[in-house]
């Protein structure tokens, strides 16, 4: 390519540097809103009081003693832009103990998040995904899960049984809420 002889070399490199600079400015400017929105979900979610309220799952007499029963946890949920008044947010295995206290575990497997089943024959909780197994007390038995099932706090108000639902980080030995 022939260079236009009218432009002296120093001026030429100045012009190209300027072009690169302006091009960079365009890219940077355009990136700001794009990246900002991209990382938006990483901001801490605004705390919504309603979401932390315990979820009613039935009355005491509905739970047989000693046998885990699966309950769906239904409450109002706002998912990004849409609110639904009765949405299943998860499920729990709830056991009524002999002294009428309750034990509850999240059905989410602490390995990688599949739903854990009750295996009535072997009296364990079994994960259908990668064969993790847990005792009825939630303790880890075998498989790749790094810890036992995640307990959920149960509250009994009069006859009503309520569950404080939480989600936990998967794949780690220690239990962290997310």
């Amino acid at each position: 390519m022939s260079e236009p002889s009218t432009t002296p070399p120093t001026r030429r490199s100045f012009l190209s540097a300027l072009t690169v600079l302006l091009g960079g400015a365009i890219t940077a400017l355009a990136s700001i809103p794009v990246l900002g929105s991209l990382f938006s979900p990483l901001r801490a979610a605004p705390a919504t009081g309603a979401a932390d309220a315990p979820i009613p799952v039935g009355t005491v007499s509905e739970f047989p003693v000693g046998v885990p029963r699966r309950v769906e946890l239904i409450r109002s949920v706002t998912d990004a832009w849409s609110r639904s008044d009765a949405t299943t947010v998860g499920a729990a295995w709830v056991t009524r103990n002999a002294d009428d206290t309750f034990t509850a575990f999240s059905t989410i497997c602490p390995h990688l998040g599949c739903g854990v089943n009750l295996d009535k024959q072997r009296n364990i909780f079994a994960c259908p995904c990668h064969t993790s197994a847990f005792g009825l007390d939630g303790k880890f038995q075998t498989g790749p899960a790094p810890r036992g099932l995640d307990p959920l706090q149960v509250e009994v108000r009069g006859k009503e049984v309520l569950i404080h639902y939480k989600r936990f980080k998967q794949g780690t030995p220690e239990r962290e809420t997310v």
Binding site: A45, P146, R167
Partner: protein
């Protein structure tokens, strides 16, 4: 005329030279079948693009709409199920042909200098294609996509240090929801395809620059057999692509694409990824207690690193080891076979596990049920899960399973030891069988009630009686004349000596006015020991509103009433 137009166009675009360069590229050693895979993948990718665009016209990426819109494509859009089937099977076919393409270039030693960068471009294409496959099956927001993808994003969450942030970033939040769908959707239809086509352009340009990697023949031989790409090689390429497309159409037409029940975060679903991710899935089972990272990230990472680094490994060691490219090709092929074996292990583990079969059968049933409900006037705007909640039959069935079947076992239990079983209850078949043998195990055989005598009259009369009793349930399909006849027989054959028809009852046998109707069942379940029903003979527990809340009982009676038109489930 055409010629003149062509000349005019050529002077403006130069397309003839372009076409010539494309068609008359020299193929040293001549056309070969094993060169076809690259073209075949390209054709399949174009087909994915076309079908994908068509699907995009109907698809709606939100948690409330996604499943419904996919179900709409399956059931309402003309040829929609075929369209989706092609897109589904096309994805699998691409993975297969890419693997063949990889093996072919591997054994030809095409990763060696000067084609290192093209090997890398191919490697990147492989990752993009796997990414498209992974992001694609979340989009229907059905059980399979939801659960299998959860496992994938949870794996991202186990990455040291950045894991949790990475997972939140990918999911668009701390749990799955609308933003997960919009992100995966953007990746699947915008970002990844754009990347795919850009890298394909580079891949093809580099391929054109270096040409095919010719077989190990003397140069003169190659020279002698050389021929242009067009017509033979082009024909080979097109023929194989046509076979591939044919197979995909056949599978799409015969099998379609699966659509499981809508994603339900509270369910236990058997999360299994698509077949090409099964080896990774299987790998997860082996590493326990803190070593998960080995299975989730380290091993797959090492394998992928080896694949990408192949040309450079070759460059470093080739002087010391003769024929190194064959050794490397052999090693990779064995590795690939190992990957296949892992997948086979996953399949065989599932095959031999009855719990898996049961879960799969249940999932299939739920899928059919959801689609049946959706076909009755569409999916509620509040989301497909409300299909179930608004449907008293589905809900009633759930309650029956959890509350009633403790005693009234499912009819197909063997041997049957429960109280009267309820599937097909109050249907004509149920009544006529009952009249003939009330002490059969599926009726009162396992209870203390043995006062009822079997009816031994002629079949005609039995039919008339059956119709009469059936008519009490408030059924729309009663044959009135026959029921009338049955009513007369009711008196003359002696039924009336124990059973009343006044809605009050005598305490000897249940009053049969309205028997099988919702009202009758409702009152019965609340107070089975009333004189109207079994009185002193009663063995069933009463279900007051604490044990069975009002709405649940309504659902149960709706379910029971619907049994009148269901078949019996025992021999």
């Amino acid at each position: 005329m055409l010629k003149r137009f062509d000349a005019w166009l050529d002077s403006r675009t130069g397309h003839r030279a372009l076409l010539h360069a494309a068609l008359y590229e020299n193929v040293p050693g001549g056309a070969r079948w094993r060169y076809v895979f690259g073209s075949a993948v390209t054709v399949l990718i174009l087909m994915q693009a076309a079908t994908g665009i068509a699907l995009e016209l109907y698809y709606s990426p939100s948690t409330t709409d996604a499943w419904a819109s996919v179900n709409y494509i399956e059931t309402q859009v003309m040829l929609g199920s075929l369209l989706r089937g092609i897109h589904h099977w096309g994805a699998s076919a691409i993975v297969v042909v890419v693997a063949l393409h990889l093996l072919q270039t591997l054994w030809a030693g095409a990763f060696r200098a000067p084609r290192e960068l093209n090997w890398l471009a191919g490697f990147i294409l492989l990752q993009i294609i796997l990414g498209l496959a992974l992001t694609g099956y979340l989009l229907p927001w059905d059980q399979k996509g939801y659960w299998a993808t959860q496992v994938a994003t949870s794996i991202a969450g186990t990455v040291p240090l950045i894991g949790p942030k990475l997972q939140t970033f990918l999911q668009g939040g701390t749990s799955y929801g609308n933003l997960t769908l919009t992100r995966f959707h953007t990746l699947h239809v915008l970002l990844l395809p754009a990347a795919l086509f850009s890298v394909i352009a580079v891949h093809v340009a580099l391929f054109r620059k270096h040409g095919v990697t010719p077989p190990d023949l003397p140069a003169a031989e190659l020279e002698r057999k050389a021929e242009p790409f067009y017509p033979r090689q082009l024909l080979y390429d097109t023929a194989v692509s046509a076979v591939g497309v044919g197979v995909i159409f056949y599978l799409a037409w015969r099998l379609g694409a699966p659509l499981e029940a809508p994603a339900d975060p509270s369910s236990q679903y058997l999360a299994r990824p698509e077949w090409y991710f099964l080896p990774l899935f299987q790998l997860l089972k082996y590493f326990e207690g803190g070593a998960e990272l080995v299975g989730t990230i380290i091993l797959p990472g090492v394998a992928m690193g080896f694949l990408a680094g192949l040309p450079f490994i070759h460059a470093v060691f080739s002087r010391r080891i003769p024929n190194l490219h064959r050794v490397l090709a052999g090693a990779l092929t064995v590795g690939l076979m190992g990957v296949g074996a892992l997948g086979a292990l996953a399949v065989s583990a599932d095959r031999s596990d009855p719990a898996v079969a049961a879960l799969a059968a249940k999932a299939h049933e739920e899928a059919m049920e959801a689609r049946r409900l959706a076909s009755m006037g569409g999916v509620p705007a509040s989301g497909p899960l409300n299909l179930y909640r608004n449907d008293p039959l589905v809900w009633g069935h759930r309650v029956v399973v959890s509350q009633c079947q403790k005693c009234h076992n499912p009819c197909d239990t063997q041997p049957y030891k429960g109280s009267p079983c309820l599937e097909g209850y109050a249907s004509r078949a149920w009544i006529s069988r009952f009249l003939r043998n009330p002490r059969a195990p599926h009726f009162f055989g396992n209870t203390k009630i043995d006062d009822m005598e079997a009816y031994t009259g002629p079949q005609e009369s039995a039919d008339a009686l059956t119709e009469f009793i059936y008519s009490q349930g408030g059924r729309p399909d009663v044959t009135v004349a026959l029921a009338k006849k049955g009513e007369e027989l009711f008196e003359s054959e002696g039924c009336a000596s124990c059973h009343t028809l006044d809605g009050v009852g005598s305490g000897l046998g249940p009053d049969l006015k309205g028997w099988g109707s919702r009202e009758w069942s409702y009152a019965f379940i609340r107070t089975p020991d009333a004189t109207r029903f079994f009185g002193e003979l009663n063995e069933m527990e009463a279900f007051d509103h604490l044990r069975l809340p009002e709405e649940e009982l309504q659902a149960v009676t709706a379910w029971l009433h619907a049994q009148g038109s269901q078949p019996l489930k025992f021999p």
